[in-house]
Symmetry: C3
Subunit: 309 residues, 3 copies
């Protein structure tokens, strides 16, 4: 299995064995991270973070990962991104930056941008989100979190809550969870249901897929509850939004009706979907998820730059 | 005396002995800095600079300090700060970033923000200014500058000039100078006098506190003249502002009436309070103050991250 | 020959022998760069990139160069630059930053800003563009590219195409090419011709200088075609702009009428002056130019910071 110089545009390009291998490697890296033993392994390597739209958390997570292994970072975000986007084609920008850096992390509002960039240059590209497309390192960190918390990533009952229609995170994640043979509970308002074809694809992998609008009803079945943001703008009228918002608010009273080992995940940022009171309970793993994101990105940077044996 | 993992929100949390110990350590660090001997001591450590309002000089000073010891930096400032401030609560932001970094330097417009952040997370927080609250590393660098220039930080006659009502710098500094038993000369226009209760507190420590509007009158008494900015917006009418501005302009003619060893300090940036002609005189120490700021921040980062024995 | 602590404001301050020596050193550095042997040579050194106007590519190129040698970077660009520019004089800003860094790279809209900054402080300053003034590292990377591609930098026929009136790049470059005894073909519309006095100065060095509006006519003579951007705003009316734009569009059909070894250069970004079809031909060296920019900047940082023998 060889990851050196490979792009990471979507997890669909990686076999299930390869994904498992990344998750196993992450376990090792997590140990380095604690000891700071390997903290110079990427010395002299330069990561370019090209963020054509803002995503401060993702950017900081990659920059932290690179630097914790001794590497350096250049890049742009915010208004500078806008001005560079105006001046020249994306392809010229990435072909230019490919001369400054050893690896590029790209965030771009247009679906397909990461793939196009990867094809234009010789250095590897990691997709950090391309419009309604993919965000594969988010999916990997979600899988890694489940593996660490549950000691397995198969045969679990996993609830996905919120906007399942537009939410990029949950589409990629549900496909990945399907590959690992988990059962899915899709919990969303009628107007934000997961697209038909995605569900059909999931069922074809042989897993159970339950759809419901009722969170309380399915909660007792779940090993994992994955909460995502519901955006007000998605709703035709405010009244419906308010109804949903209240019905899907995750709080301690609700969680106490769940399994003993239920865990609650969230890609963050949250804006009210999970009550603050949950933060200090055994259920809350969403801040540990953030930590796992750094570990996964350290692992990927090391694998792709070829510094791990 | 142990500084490892301690927050630095206000100097009021530190004993006078602890402050002295920091200043002594800074002397040592200043020697390393010259030799570059210790330039990898923070390798693998990550500092996050979270600047929710702009303060480019403070940000660059911390980033320089971290990197001169071999550490790395992530963070945000400017418009990115605005967008992150909108998306989620400050507490969620710092709890997220606490997973990316080993230490946080926080600048926030709201008084109390740094304390609240420090209480929410396990990694140490350094307050780089929270509204009308504190900016303790500025005070430490001021003390360190006086110590270096005067070989002592007690028993001096120190004039504080400018906006003593709203100026955050001078409040914290005057309290610290009081703890070290210096005499204070508070020089300000009537409308920008230091608050009554601050003066009362200072007098209770047993030091002399003189209030005046007349700079020339007290100048001959001073060992240190600490100049701060007077902002036009603070004045009811423009005429009064112009009068004060001229009366408090520090230039060579004025300084020649001072003591032989008088020094002039300023937290910078200045906008006309000190004439450029002063820059190359023996009185001017304000650019050395900037240098001392880096030394103090190197010292604090090293102490709090526990890399100094 | 000693480069330690020298400013680089304009190549006019450097002898032809010194320029040759920099280009030779760059050859060596290019070898290090591949092996990563010297990747810690600038450890503990801090570069400040002060960009008072945007130039993301130049900024990233310098930051990459510094970090590839193990150094660190602080600085500002974008809106932060605007706010710092308002608060205090440029001289105060650079005198402040001189206490944070070991070397400054300055980009400023005002001609003469870099020289003034260099004179105000003790640490070295590299000019990364000052209005209609100079951008010497661009000229050095252009010379280095010609040397690498042609194995010489003298006696070549070099065409400069585009806006020769306002284009800063071509003024500095043409002077440098003159010093190295190349013949120049100046190709531009009537309204954007190179200034009379620049041409006179060039001719006085003893080289041939041909002026023309007709690209196809002179193309067969050229060893190097250096293309620059023609900005719409420079033209009195849109019709004239469109005429020129089409006449000067560099594409494969045109290039096939050139010499076997003709190379096409461009400082980038391009906005349509060179057809994308040229990118994968033997003529195109403009992305290699970008790479050479990093090498030249690594070389200069190493020489000026005194880490090369």
């Amino acid at each position: 299995m060889n990851f050196k110089n490979r792009d990471l545009i979507t997890l669909n390009d990686y076999t299930t064995e390869e994904i498992k291998s990344i998750l196993e490697k992450a376990r090792e890296v997590e140990k380095y991270e604690k000891t700071r033993e390997k903290r110079t392994i990427l010395q002299g390597f330069v990561l370019a973070t090209l963020f054509f739209e803002p995503s401060t958390r993702t950017r900081l997570s990659f920059e932290s990962a690179m630097q914790k292994l001794g590497g350096s970072v250049i890049g742009f975000a915010g208004p500078e991104a806008t001005s560079i986007a105006k001046g020249e084609s994306l392809m010229d920008t990435v072909r230019t930056v490919a001369n400054y850096a050893d690896i590029i992390v790209l965030r771009h509002p247009r679906m397909g941008a990461a793939r196009a960039a990867a094809e234009a240059i010789d250095i590897p590209v990691i997709n950090a989100g391309d419009g309604s497309g993919e965000h594969p390192t988010q999916t990997l960190l979600d899988l890694y979190t489940i593996l660490k918390e549950k000691q397995k990533i198969s045969g679990l009952n996993i609830g996905l809550l919120g906007d399942l229609k537009y939410g990029r995170t949950v589409h990629s994640l549900s496909v990945a969870l399907g590959r690992f043979k988990n059962n899915l509970y899709l919990i969303s308002p009628e107007s934000l249901k997961m697209p038909r074809e995605t569900i059909r694809d999931l069922r074809e992998t042989g897993i159970e897929v339950h759809e419901t609008q009722n969170l309380s009803e399915v909660l007792p079945e779940l090993d994992v509850l994955y909460v995502t943001r519901i955006q007000k703008e998605r709703f035709p009228d405010l009244e419906e939004y308010n109804k949903v918002k209240d019905a899907y608010k995750v709080n301690n009273a609700l969680l106490e009706r769940g399994k003993e080992n239920l865990i609650v995940m969230h890609p963050l940022p949250r804006v009210g979907e999970i009550a603050y009171e949950v933060d200090n309970t055994k259920y809350a793993v969403y801040f540990r998820q953030v930590k796992n994101g750094v570990i996964i990105r350290m692992t990927l940077l090391g694998l792709i730059l070829g510094v791990f044996e």
